[in-house]
């Protein structure tokens, strides 16, 4: 998988928040083989150098880091946070979150496009956390986004893919753009479904971090992502309404 010209082996990305301990976090990464770790600059760790000890532990995971702007509710906050993240982690990658609704944590589509434009012009490689809206996707690509991260469901809900039609449409409309289902996944089967639908990768955090055994759940997601990807590449059969026997019936002995 190529993201902004960088080859990434694993199609599973994991967040780094809310684990019982950094050791458990590291074990979850090890067992999942996740290739990208998102890290929150604002919310999880304190600003500036105060969170350095935790970030050092995250750096030691030896995966590609994707800092995010989680918790930002305005364009200005998101842009400032992205700039801080670039300095802290020495990367131009930024997962852009501009939250528009405090209760559902739904992205603010207008602020998102504006922040994506500003950051792209400033040299950032923007991974926008967006909805499944195709018009919004178009606008984000217009301002320079080369990867989109549509939600499956609101952050932290574990509801899975709540608008399958919308996600299918998005996939069909943008066949060449890497699409990462981000947020709302609660179970490996939901991740497998996203991959079967042809999404390029999935990103999750709470479903692993808050599981009773985060490392085991991380491994379960890794296998589901692999299974879903293989299934997609294998060109699944089309569902049909009527039974279709897998062995021919013509010539079968008639018992009546």
């Amino acid at each position: 998988m190529q993201l902004y010209g960088t080859h990434i082996d694993s199609r599973l990305m994991l967040g780094t928040a809310q684990y019982p301990s950094p050791t458990v976090l590291a074990e979850a990464f090890r067992r999942s083989g996740a290739g990208i770790a998102t890290v929150s600059v604002r919310r999880e760790a304190g600003g500036e150098r105060a969170g350095a000890a935790f970030w050092d532990l995250v750096r030691r995971l030896d995966v590609t880091l994707l800092p995010n702007t989680a918790g930002c509710h305005s364009v200005r906050e998101a842009v400032t946070t992205a700039q801080m993240a670039r300095e802290l982690f020495d990367t131009s990658w930024i997962k852009l979150e501009v939250i528009g609704h405090a209760d559902t944590l739904q992205p603010d589509p207008f602020g998102l496009v504006e922040a994506a434009r500003i950051l792209t012009e400033d040299g950032f490689k923007v991974f926008p956390y967006t909805t499944e809206d195709v018009v919004l996707a178009d606008r984000l690509i217009d301002v320079g986004c080369e990867v989109l991260m549509p939600w499956g469901a609101p952050i932290g809900t574990g509801l899975g893919l709540t608008n399958i039609y919308g996600l299918r449409t998005l996939r069909a409309q943008f066949p060449k753009v890497p699409l990462v289902v981000d947020a709302g996944l609660g179970l490996p089967s939901q991740a497998a479904m996203a991959m079967e639908m042809g999404f390029d990768a999935v990103l999750l955090n709470t479903a692993v971090a808050k599981a009773g055994d985060p490392a085991a759940m991380a491994q379960a997601f890794a296998r589901a992502v692999e299974a879903g990807r293989l299934a997609h590449q294998a060109d699944p059969m089309a569902p049909r309404d009527m039974a279709a026997p897998s062995t021919p019936v013509i010539g079968r002995a008639l018992l009546s």
Binding site: S21, T23, A26, E44, A45, G46, G51, A53, F54, G212
Partner: protein
């Protein structure tokens, strides 16, 4: 008589000094601050002795060793309230109670009536709750002050200096020991103290929420301690966001908190190792006792006993960590 030094007079240092004194050692405690106070993170602790609830996210040793804590503090003459913990959820987080119940031992499920019988002021506010009867709480500041004066009466010397390792030394300096223990990191906790004359609660209350629980620990004189955030940071800033979260959760728990007096807002950084478990280690004649994370009052008694055994008897106890 064995001579021993203790560096740091927080909860870990005072517990180690107590165990050393109990083994007949000649103990001197060094700490730049002359008294227990807001300079140390023990001062900001909740004082919950809740080993079963901590088991939701903490590993098995915390649950096992934490069960000895209430008895240890009582034996030192500290007042311990053994009322147990009530675990509650607000409307949209109801499923969190089931999850919590699956992971935590020793609880009973209460309905609204049995809850009201235990905590009458919560009557009609929650339709179910978990009760963990085997848990307790104490007032951490009173406990620190009491333990220190008890040690002074027992002949332990306190020196208001930083102190240096010399001979058998127990380094209990918390985050300040990062100069010797590079794996230590700070995990910030913010808390608030409210005073309400309208509300009477006797149990430790744990309100489950998606990111971290709010706990309410009743103290004397109508005071309630609210805690605590858990942020990967070693700063001591009290953020508006955290205080808003704590206060609005308390208000949701009971509207009487809306009329309460805001007595205090505090923050400090807990010393933690990457696995969030404590560690005992030796560098020369110095034994490090550190990484108590959010379990200072819960685990310090057990850690102190093990550290002193390691120092005097050369045992290699649990949590022993070779560099």
């Amino acid at each position: 008589m064995t001579i021993a030094r203790v560096l740091g007079a927080g909860v870990a240092g005072l517990c180690v000094a107590s165990e050393l004194a109990g083994r007949g050692c000649d103990v001197t405690v060094f700490d730049p601050a002359p008294r227990p106070g807001p300079h140390g993170c023990s001062w900001w602790a909740g004082g919950m002795l809740a080993p079963f609830c901590e088991g939701e996210t903490a590993e098995e040793p915390v649950v096992r060793l934490g069960q000895d804590a209430a008895g240890w503090w009582e034996r030192q003459g500290v007042a311990v309230t053994r009322q147990g913990t009530l675990v509650l959820t607000l409307g949209r987080d109801r499923h969190e109670l089931d999850r919590f119940g699956r992971r935590v031992a020793g609880h009973q499920l209460l309905d609204d009536e049995t809850l009201a019988a235990l905590e009458p002021d919560l009557d009609g506010r929650f339709d179910r709750a978990l009760h963990i009867p085997g848990e307790a709480h104490l007032d951490p500041r009173a406990a620190l002050v009491h333990l220190r004066s008890r040690l002074e009466s027992a002949g332990v010397a306190f020196v208001a200096e930083k102190g240096r390792p010399e001979g058998l030394t127990f380094d209990c300096r918390g985050l300040a020991a990062r100069d010797r223990l590079p794996d230590l990191r700070g995990v910030k906790g913010e808390m608030a103290v409210l005073r309400s004359s309208d509300l009477r609660l006797t149990h430790t209350i744990r309100l489950l929420r998606p990111r971290y629980p709010l706990y309410v620990v009743p103290r004397a004189d109508g005071l309630f301690m609210l805690g605590a955030t858990q942020i990967e940071s070693c700063d001591r800033k009290r953020s508006v966001r955290s205080v808003l979260e704590l206060l609005s959760a308390a208000y949701a728990l009971h509207p009487a908190f809306g009329e309460a007096e805001l007595v205090e807002i505090g923050a400090d950084a807990r010393p933690a190792f990457p696995d969030n478990l404590p560690r005992l280690s030796r560098q020369g004649d110095t034994i490090h006792v550190n990484g108590l994370f959010r379990h200072g009052f819960l685990l310090a008694p057990a850690l102190a006993r093990m550290a002193v055994e390691a120092g005097l008897d050369r045992t290699r106890p649990e949590f022993w960590h070779e560099d």
